[in-house]
């Protein structure tokens, strides 16, 4: 990174009280109230879960989709540190911040969904663990990654507190932490796909394939870049800053590369398995499949040309579409194409929707507070 000179990160500053933070506060308060009922009276009191659908949007949206959205930090860190593309370095901290929140909340979200949450310590207790379980792999890996990410992000806090010595000491071990921070998400993002593989015929053929781990990993990386596009455009708009187009335009190209690989693997797999015809049988699943595929293909058309990649509006839209596509892939596999038996239905209750909204509100509020008070976003140049 020595050969790249970037503006040092600095706090954005400004008031913490505005319409956005207040709305977030209301959503978070509602979530807290619902969660209190949930922890006192059980899952049945607030959710629409049943034996046929033992997980709902708290797991699928908050944890599985949420952690995929939180892959920005991992995707960018991999690009900067593993592929040594130092020019993207200013994107690392904001991306890492979003990931940090996404993952920490995903970890907390799992607890909300555990029927007997007070037994959760068994997951890590040597006498109780089941090392053959995919769930165990996901749980331990995500827990480790959350810790790794907090360490990875800690220089931001150390800088703000003026502890340069501690930061320097941490810097010496950082290469190891960064390596872990790249390996761990690759492990569990693919394992989230494996979760579906072990469910066999309960998953619709359009989303059930032995290469699900690869599909989930590829989309997680792609979504990571999409989230960076989304987050950069949003932050620039909200804070009235200049959009870092000189980084986002080439980053979008990297993203399209991963996207192309994904589409080849995805469609190739459907053809090889002979499952593609299911997409032409009129059904909710087929409709959702086409919607999902459209979300993945649209960015290629939208920002396939270099000139279009210079347009922040198109970059933003492409980022949103890709996030939606990745989210649909997960939603379709884990809920819509998931069938455990006749008669079972699931639709999230109002309480579940409000809790999920509250989780995203925490992320937004946390992002605002930290970027306004801690050095995350690059300092705006006075020349602008």
């Amino acid at each position: 990174m020595a050969n790249h000179q970037h503006a040092a990160p600095a706090p954005v500053g400004g008031s913490l009280v505005n319409i956005v933070t207040l709305s977030c506060g209301v959503l978070i308060a509602l979530m807290a109230a619902i969660l209190m009922v949930r922890f006192l009276f059980g899952l049945g009191a607030v959710t629409g879960l049943n034996d046929g659908y033992p997980w709902g949007i708290w797991v699928v949206v908050d944890v599985i989709i949420g952690s995929a959205f939180a892959c920005g930090g991992f995707s960018v860190a991999m690009l900067v540190y593993i592929f040594n593309k130092g020019e993207y370095h200013p994107l690392v901290r904001p991306a890492l911040l979003a990931s940090l929140f996404g993952y920490t909340l995903a970890g907390a979200g799992v607890i909300f969904d555990l029927g007997r949450w007070w037994n959760v310590w068994n997951m890590f207790w040597p006498g109780s663990i089941n090392p053959n379980s995919v769930m165990f792999e996901v749980a331990v890996c995500i827990t480790l990654y959350i810790m790794v990410m907090w360490i990875e992000f800690s220089p931001t806090f150390l800088e703000a507190m003026g502890k340069t010595d501690a930061k320097k000491k941490l810097g010496k071990a950082m290469f190891f932490i960064i390596a872990l921070g790249t390996v761990l998400p690759m492990m569990h993002q693919s394992s989230l796909g494996t979760l579906l593989v072990v469910m066999g015929v309960q998953i619709h053929p359009l989303w059930q394939t032995p290469i699900l781990p690869l599909l989930y990993l590829l989309t997680a990386i792609t979504m990571g870049y999409a989230v960076v596009l989304f987050e950069s455009c949003l932050a620039s708009s909200a804070y009235r800053r200049k959009i870092e187009m000189h980084m986002l335009t080439p980053l979008a190209k990297v993203m399209l590369g991963f996207l192309a690989v994904y589409l080849v693997v995805r469609l190739g797999d459907l053809l090889v398995r002979g499952a593609l015809f299911k997409a032409f049988v009129p059904s909710v699943e087929a409709l959702m499949f086409w919607l999902e595929l459209a979300c993945f293909i649209a960015p290629l058309i939208l920002i396939g040309a270099e000139t279009n990649r210079r347009n922040p509006a198109k970059l933003f839209l492409a980022g949103v579409l890709l996030m939606l596509g990745g989210a649909l892939l997960r939603l379709n596999g884990f809920l819509i194409g998931y069938e455990t038996g006749d008669g079972f239905t699931y639709f999230p209750t109002l309480a579940e929707v409000l809790v999920t909204a509250g989780m995203f509100a925490i992320e937004v509020l946390g992002y605002i507070i930290i970027t306004r008070r801690f050095p995350v976003l690059p300092r705006e140049e006075a020349t602008h």
């Binding site: 629409g48 879960l49 049943n50 034996d51 046929g52 659908y53 455009c233 949003l234 708009s237 959009i243 347009n311 922040p312 509006a313 198109k314 933003f316 839209l317 949103v320 008669g343 079972f344 239905t345 699931y346 639709f347 999230p348 209750t349 109002l350 579940e352 929707v353 409000l354 909204a357």
Partner: protein
């Protein structure tokens, strides 16, 4: 050929004799022998030995004593039809003393007992039905002026075998139940083994299945010794398995389908009675494989929808409350069970559908607005850049 015919002829003659003596068709008699052999878990071919033993008509003398009991064991034996009791007591064995069934009464009866004991010294079978009160030297049960303790000791002294029938004779049974407020039962009731101070064969049950008793007697007739028993004196052929292991409702237990109260949906569908206090999981007996009363299978408490009370198990039957949940001796079920009717989820409510639509709408709206603004500012920047470039070229041209 002549020899073979002779053998067949003899066999036929013997069977004909048995047929006449037992008033039982040949086929039914052989069936009876096979049933008993199977009950005892004897190897194939043993039914022939059983048949031969019964055919031989040695008719061992049996002395049957009654103490603290309800005669339920004898009553249950009366319900046996293969053979009926009168055939059994008149033709298979020689029942020389049985207070309920014998014609004699008073001193005549006691004289008959003493005569039989003397005539068959060391060869008769002693059957005891009912518990023996031991408190205050056994004064709570006297027959002909003799206490139960003295009587059982006297009869057991010269018996070839002692069989305790029913839970009362086995360990004290219902009369030995100790109230939580006292430290002994009212009469200090004890089983035969305790009084005699030596192990005896016990056929516990309230009442026991008559075929378990008959099979034990026939085993003695056939092989001249009593069957193999467990540490409580119960014949292993009948009492080596938990009722739970072969229960017809076991599949429901394994699937977690339980009747929660009498007459509920699960009870009506024949679900497992574990949660109603069935003691099958801690009671050793063959009730679940050998029905009662010759009325076919399912004719036993659990088959009729009532939980097992554990009558063959000391410390369970008459001791634990009937509806107390049994202690699992092998697999312990989880603390929580699935419900009988599982909820299958509800379709979207208006509120939840509206909430999802609102979130989706807000996100889409915000995304469109933001895209539009970004597009507008981009267009403005582009225009400015074009303008700058135009000015620059115009300046150049001007120079």
């Amino acid at each position: 050929m002549g020899d073979m015919n002779e053998i067949f002829e003899t066999g036929r003659k013997t069977l004909q004799e048995v047929e006449q003596r037992l008033e039982m068709p040949r086929r039914e008699f052989l069936q009876f022998c096979a049933t008993l052999a199977v009950t005892m878990g004897l190897p194939s071919g043993a039914e022939a030995a059983v048949a031969k033993a019964i055919e031989a008509a040695k008719r061992p003398s049996v002395i049957w004593l009654h103490f603290q009991e309800c005669t339920g064991c004898s009553e249950s034996l009366l319900r046996a039809e293969h053979p009926t009791l009168e055939k059994l007591i008149l033709d298979v064995i020689s029942l020389d003393y049985h207070e309920t069934l014998m014609a004699a009464a008073g001193h005549q009866a006691e004289a008959a007992r003493k005569a039989a004991m003397k005539a068959n010294k060391g060869k008769y079978v002693l059957v005891v039905e009912g518990a023996i009160p031991t408190k205050e030297k056994g004064i709570y049960c006297k027959i002909g002026g003799q206490t139960a303790i003295d009587m059982v000791k006297e009869c057991a002294a010269d018996a070839a075998a002692v069989i305790a029938i029913g839970s009362c004779a086995s360990w004290g049974g219902m009369p030995s139940t100790i109230s939580p407020l006292s430290d002994s039962s009212p009469t200090g009731s004890a089983g035969v083994a305790e009084v005699l101070g030596k192990p005896v064969v016990t056929i516990p049950g309230c009442p026991p299945n008559p075929y378990n008793f008959l099979a034990t007697v026939v085993h003695f007739l056939t092989f001249g010794k009593l069957p193999e028993v467990d540490k409580l004196g119960r014949p292993k052929f009948a009492y080596s398995r938990l009722i739970h292991e072969n229960c017809e409702r076991r599949a429901h237990f394994d699937a977690g389908r339980f009747a929660m109260e009498f007459g509920d949906a699960g009870h009506r569908q024949g679900y497992c009675l574990y949660k109603l206090g069935c003691k099958g999981p801690e009671t050793y007996a063959n009730c679940s494989t050998l029905g009662f009363g010759d009325a076919g299978e399912n004719n036993w408490p659990v088959g009729c929808g009532h939980p097992c009370i554990g009558c063959t198990e000391k410390g369970v039957g008459f001791q634990k409350p009937i509806h107390q949940v049994a202690k699992m001796l092998n697999v312990t079920p989880p603390l929580q069970y699935p419900r009988i009717v599982e909820e299958q989820g509800k379709a979207a409510s208006f509120a939840s559908a509206a909430a999802v639509a609102a979130v989706a709408g807000a996100a889409a709206g915000a995304a469109i607005m933001l895209t539009r603004n970004l597009g507008l500012s981009h267009a403005a920047e582009e225009a400015e850049r074009a303008n700058d470039a135009g000015k620059l070229s115009a300046d150049k041209a001007g120079v």
